[in-house]
Every structure is written in C-alpha cells, then in structure tokens.
C-alpha cells in the first residue's frame, strides 16, 4: 500500500507527512528535556549552600563540543541545500563531515565521562578529604594511589576546581581511610551519577543527549550510505528524508546550546 503524501505536500497543510511527524515528535522531545530541566532547577534551587559545584567540568571541552555541534548543523543544512541544487557529490561530503562531527562529539564526551569516573574523593579518619584523579593502571591493595590530588578540610572546597599548583601525587594508606557507616567498605567514591545531585542530573541530561546524538548519527549515516540509492530513483523523497533527519539533528544541537551553559558555566 502506498503511503500518502510521503513526497508531495498535502493540499490542506502544504506539508508532506514526514515533516508534520518530525515536528510532532520534536514537540514531545521538548517536553521530555523540559521535565529534566525542571528537575535540574528544583535540585539546584533546593541544594544546601556551598554544595552545588561551579566550573567543575572541563569548560574548554564543553565549548569545543558546542563548536563541533554547530559545525555539524551547518554541514547538515549545506548538505540539504546541495541536494536542492542537484549536487549529490557536495551533499555526500557535507553529510560525511556531519557524521565525523557526531563521532568527534561522542569521543570528547566519552573523554569527559572517563575523567569523572577516574576522579575520586576519599574521606580520611582525621576528617580531611583527598580528592583527585587516579591512575587506573596503578592498583595497590595497601594504598589508594592518586596521580594528582589535593587535600581539603571540608566539602565546600571541592565545589570549585583546584589550582594546578595545589595538585600532587598522593598515596593514601587504606588503614587511614574512614569506614562507611553501613559497614560496606571504605569512604571512597568516584564522581559518577551517585556522587551528588549535580552529577546525577549531569549524567542523566548529557547521557540522554548523547543517546540522541547516537540515534541521529545512525539515521544520517543510513541515509548517507546504504539508502543513498533512493536518490537515483526518487530524489525528491531522498531530499525530504535528509530534511527530516536534519530537523532532528538541529534539535539535538539546540538542546546542547542550553545544556552547555547550564551544566558547565552557571
């Protein structure tokens, strides 16, 4: 059965159905991310004074990822405009760059995630806290070895990034680390989603966004590669597919434009 108005616009709406469909889907996506932004606001406003981190994430990497996504949005519209001008070769180049940008974004994000999972906070029996990055290759059962860390006396000091000069290699004997009150091991915790409300919402928001990047990249790649033969048989349908996948990609960029200042800068 032929799906109606898959290529030509409906006379009453002036739109082909996929375009209406993607806009309705994006509307639901706005509410999905809106609910999470709402959670962020509530968590942040209700956080106790001095417990919400500021500039703890790598701002340079966040800004670089923003530029990468902006570049990918430009190449998506360039690709679509190239098809409108009947330049399939140019489209292939531009969308190829889009896919590379998507991979770059995910690569940078995984570096940031890795950094947080190797960032540990250890509470000592003398009530000081050692906080820093470990070398995962350096494992010792008697010591907890930090590659670069600082010692602080309270949690509030951990809410802002350390001076480079304050960081040094520290080896903490396991016997000096405080036991957990529930008796399940020592007070050792990395900066995963379980660390604090901030990192919980950070991982949820950026993780969900990353899933969207992966999904968008797969669709763009499928249209760019395996489905490219449709261009020869039905170029108008192919151009519409590129436009619809592009609308989704721009939405992913739009979300990141708000995530970057909210999570990295404010």
């Amino acid at each position: 059965m032929e799906i109606p108005y898959a290529v030509k616009a409906r006379p009453d709406t002036g739109l082909y159905n996929a375009k209406v469909g993607i806009w309705l889907f994006l509307a639901s996506e706005v509410m999905l991310f809106g609910a999470l932004f709402s959670s962020y606001i509530l968590l942040r406003v209700n956080a106790d004074p001095g417990t919400w981190p500021l500039h703890l994430l790598n701002v340079k990497l966040g800004a670089l990822n923003t530029i990468v996504l902006i570049l990918s949005s430009v190449t998506v519209v360039f690709g679509w405009a190239s098809l409108k001008m009947n330049k399939f070769g140019s489209y292939k180049v531009f969308q190829g760059i889009t896919i590379l940008c998507a991979l770059t974004f995910l690569g940078i994000k995984s570096v940031e995630y890795r950094d947080k999972f190797h960032h540990y906070e250890v509470q000592l029996k003398n009530n000081t806290i050692v906080d820093g990055h470990i070398d995962p290759a350096n494992k010792d059962t008697n010591f907890f070895a930090f590659e670069s860390a600082r010692t602080v006396t309270n949690h509030a000091e951990l809410m802002s990034p350390p001076e480079e000069s304050a960081l040094k290699e520290i080896k903490v004997p396991m016997s000096e680390i405080k036991d957990r009150t529930d008796g399940k091991g020592k007070e050792i915790e990395n900066y995963g989603p379980w660390h604090s409300s901030y990192f919980a919402i950070y991982f949820v928001l950026t993780g969900l966004h990353a899933l969207h990047v992966i999904g968008g990249m797969i669709v763009i790649f499928a249209i760019w590669g395996p489905l490219a033969k449709v261009w020869k048989t039905d170029p108008e349908r192919y151009t519409n597919r590129v436009e619809v996948s592009g609308l989704f990609w721009h939405f992913v960029d739009l979300i990141w434009i708000f995530l970057f200042p909210v999570l990295y800068l404010l």
Binding site: W23, S73, V77, A81, E236, I257
Partner: protein
C-alpha cells in the same frame, strides 16, 4: 529528467536553486554567529557582574538567541507553514506551563506538608 525532478522539488518547496545558494550564505553567517555566541557565553560566565543572578540571566539570553538562530534559520521556522506554527504554539504553551509549575513549587508557602 533527473535535474527537472530536483528543480521541481525545489520549486515546489518554495526554494529555487538560486534561493538555495543564497540560503547557504545565510547558513554560513548563522554558523559564524553561533560560534561567536559560544565564545560570548563562556566570556560572560567568567565576568563578575556583581550578582550571580545577572550571570545566569546573561547566559540564558545568549543561549536563547542562539536557540532562535538554530530554530529560525537551520530549522526554517521563520518561514514555515501554519500547521508547524500551531504545533510550536502548543509546545511553547505546555513548556511554559511546566516551567510555571516548577517556579510555583519553589514557593515554600504553597507547599502542603503531609503528615
């Protein structure tokens, strides 16, 4: 045949080839504006305006402007059909309602404490 189809597609969507070329220039300018906006966002975040609230407002204004550029030009919202605008109006209404409820919940006087 092949070229005609594409041209017809372009014309049918309100985009001639010449228009598509013109649009590419616009897209490039918007891309540069977004990159500058990103630099501005970082710069504004590290400036002491005297109050944290002003930093937050400045960042949200810049982000909203960038969002408008992406939605308006890359997603063609500045020249869309009426149905898309209807979908957007509904979305904005429900998003605003969500944010309004969020702000209302922060008014501690309004919280009903359950026993």
């Amino acid at each position: 045949m092949h070229e005609t189809t594409i041209e017809q597609a372009a014309a049918g969507d309100g985009h001639s080839i010449a228009e598509a070329k013109k649009h590419m220039r616009t897209y490039a300018i918007v891309g540069v504006a977004l990159a500058i906006g990103t630099g501005l966002t970082v710069w504004a975040a590290f400036i002491n305006f005297g109050s944290r609230e002003i930093n937050i407002i400045a960042a949200l204004i810049i982000a909203s402007t960038k969002g408008f550029l992406v939605a308006g030009f890359f997603m063609h919202l500045i020249s869309e059909k009426k149905l898309i605008y209807s979908v957007m109006v509904c979305t904005v209404f429900f998003f605003a309602a969500l944010m309004f409820l969020t702000l209302m919940s922060m008014q501690h006087d309004n919280i009903v404490h359950m026993r």
